[in-house]
Symmetry: C2
Subunit: 410 residues, 2 copies
């Protein structure tokens, strides 16, 4: 059996042809690509036939400036190698390609460019500014093992650049503002994640970036947050109810000063009953536990560390929550925390700690953002393995399973 589909070019709002460079980089993948001539004809394009494959699709929704890129770097590291822009393609490509993963940014599906949004008075958060039909068709194609020519939104010019070829990877991440907005796209996702940064933390991060690094004034930062807030609340935030996994980043509760954001409380909400995803637990599955591990086995300076684990409901779904509040003093001691967590989907004792040590320079490595993102990476690896193993038993080639399993040391 092989997958083969055609996608009409009229769904695409961006200029629709492969550049010389772009095709150059695709030569090795000719079996996935239609010819440049066909592409130029403009009738049917973004079309290819692949060998028998099955792409696992993960959606990651978050507002901009919420640490998605660090999260993706952690995920792709766990899943195999470094994620980099496709070689030889548009220098402004938003795509990252790793050994087994491809991350596409949904900004590439902007239906209106910056100028047009300005004219019509809509923000990029407004669904009207995005092409969900094309997004759906292309994600569906990739999931079925079909390469596509995806538009590229140039964040510098604010316009659409020539498209780039995306081959179906083992694991496809679609990250951006709206991966969970369209029900058709949601139905394609094997796992959906929502990165939920509280207003206090978002504000603190924006101040740090835009004021300290870009010299913006506090007033202008406040104004830009305010301008986006209404659309964010209307179109972005409600998506979290559909997510399988939610990472909430909140101010600490370890410091009496309410809303202190120099220390973070990070909650991993894991819905029950998600296929191929068994929630992580602390000490005892199904119990409610608050754990302060500080003592002889873990160095903790003020204000210490507190973990929480327990059942909860998220909107109307049952969920398990694992929470970490505080900062690690010494990352190598993390093994002590790791040893009390179960269902981590590690391949060997201490893998979480090793991953954290490997990327100790990433932002959030000493707090719950790094820890819980790393854990999610391991869970996704297992999910991928299980999906492909399942598909394999339904006739897919074992080769892909081996490729996927090879990613992780055993």
């Amino acid at each position: 059996m092989s997958f083969c589909s055609l996608y009409p070019a009229l769904l695409v709002t961006s200029p629709w042809s492969c550049s010389e460079n772009h095709l150059g980089s695709c030569r090795k993948q000719l079996m996935f690509c239609v010819s440049r001539r066909k592409a130029r004809r403009g009738a049917w394009t973004g079309v290819s036939c692949s060998a028998e494959t099955r792409t696992v699709v993960i959606g990651l929704a978050a507002d901009s400036g919420c640490g998605k890129s660090t999260f993706m770097r952690r995920l792709t590291s766990v899943l195999g190698g470094v994620a980099e822009p496709p070689r030889g393609c548009n220098a402004y490509s938003n795509t990252l390609v790793g050994d087994a993963t491809t991350v596409i940014c949904l900004d590439d599906y902007h239906a209106l460019d910056r100028e047009e949004r300005k004219e019509k008075g809509v923000t990029a958060l407004d669904p009207k500014a995005n092409n969900f039909d094309l997004m759906y068709e292309q994600v569906r194609a990739l999931k079925s093992g079909v390469a596509v020519e995806k538009p590229v939104y140039n964040h510098v010019t604010g316009r659409l650049d020539p498209p780039e070829l995306i081959r179906p990877p083992n694991i496809l991440f679609i990250e951006g503002l709206h991966p969970l907005f369209d029900p058709r796209i949601r139905s394609l996702l094997d796992l959906s994640i929502y990165l939920d940064i509280s207003n206090e933390v978002k504000f603190a991060w924006k101040i740090q970036r835009d004021m300290a690094e870009r010299g913006e004034s506090l007033e202008s930062i406040k104004a830009s947050i305010k301008a986006r807030k209404s659309d964010f609340d209307m179109y972005i935030d409600p998506q979290k109810q559909y997510a399988d996994v939610i990472i909430e980043v909140l101010p600490t509760r370890l410091i009496p000063d309410k809303g202190a954001t120099e220390v973070l409380r990070v909650r991993l909400v894991m819905k029950e009953g998600v296929k191929h995803f068994t929630p992580v637990y602390l000490f005892d599955e199904g119990s409610t536990i608050s754990w302060t591990p500080c003592g002889g086995k873990l160095s903790c300076s003020y204000p210490g560390i507190r973990f929480f684990y327990g059942p909860d409901t998220y909107f109307c779904d049952e969920a398990s929550v694992l929470e970490m509040d505080g900062k690690f003093d010494r990352l190598d001691e993390l093994i002590y925390v790791e040893s009390h967590l179960s269902n981590l989907s590690t391949k060997y004792y201490g893998e979480v700690t090793q991953q954290m040590l490997k990327h100790a320079d990433f932002p959030g490595s000493n707090d719950g953002t790094g820890l819980l993102q790393t854990i999610i990476g391991l869970k996704i690896r297992q999910l991928c393995e299980q999906i492909i193993a399942g598909d394999s038993s339904h006739g897919l080639k074992r080769k892909q399973l081996r490729r996927c399993l090879r990613l992780s040391p055993v």
Copy 2:
């Protein structure tokens, strides 16, 4: 080597002779008893020589009406058999004798009888009403393996009855108002326990007993509590600072109504560094953990159950605290809780649960009082074994060790 001591009768304030019955019951123990003739002479009495033995001495301090007798029944059950008054002795004896344990009540060392206390205007809580010299001498004698003739305070007549012979047991409990008051007696204790019942709970228990069962008025109960409070605060309560183990019984925190006593929060405070006593811990030694075990594995009706474990300080000493707030719905499910507790000093998996089920009809069997008292019983058994094993290596007969170890199934 054998122990042999003489204790002057003049230390004894009670009539000092063995009754016919009393001696009758002691016939089997003649090696420990002086003759009746000698006893009647009144010069040296309470004297005997024993074989090489070493009695472990445990002090249990608590106010009256604080559940000491239920505690003692649980302890003696764990330590071997049922504790009963010495056969054939004074029907008003306060002593309980089990296979390996003897419990003596320190009320027997009242220096003033009820009449005299009334005359002098002192309560039984006042040290002046108690003979600490005799208490010390006799506990010291028993600890050294020497039998004594202990006074008997008759709680019905309020006077001293003829003394009873107490042979040195494997484990001697001295329970009452003042086991930790006199520093000489404290120095004899291998373990000291303070049963600390909060005022709210003490009041609720007294109401239940004296009002419901004895028909006393609420006003008279309040008046009697008030009358004792000053002496209690001055002479009884301060002893807890010297205890190795403290059981605090407090109102629940699971119900918003402050001071609710229909559900109890029971805290086991275990000081660090007590010889032969390793504190029990929940999940992870040295951490601070709050655990709500309710869920699929433990039935919990309102208001549920919450455990707490963590390091603390008690007066100026470092301690570990294990706390249980709430009630069990089903005692047989206790095995689930037991499986997450460590350093329980059990001999086999599930021994705590088995002990609790065995005495399901005892007061407090469905809450933390029963659970933590049972655990203390197991810890005392281990302490006894370790002390005797230690002494054994210093020349004591192995026979006693075997007697002690035989108490518990292996």
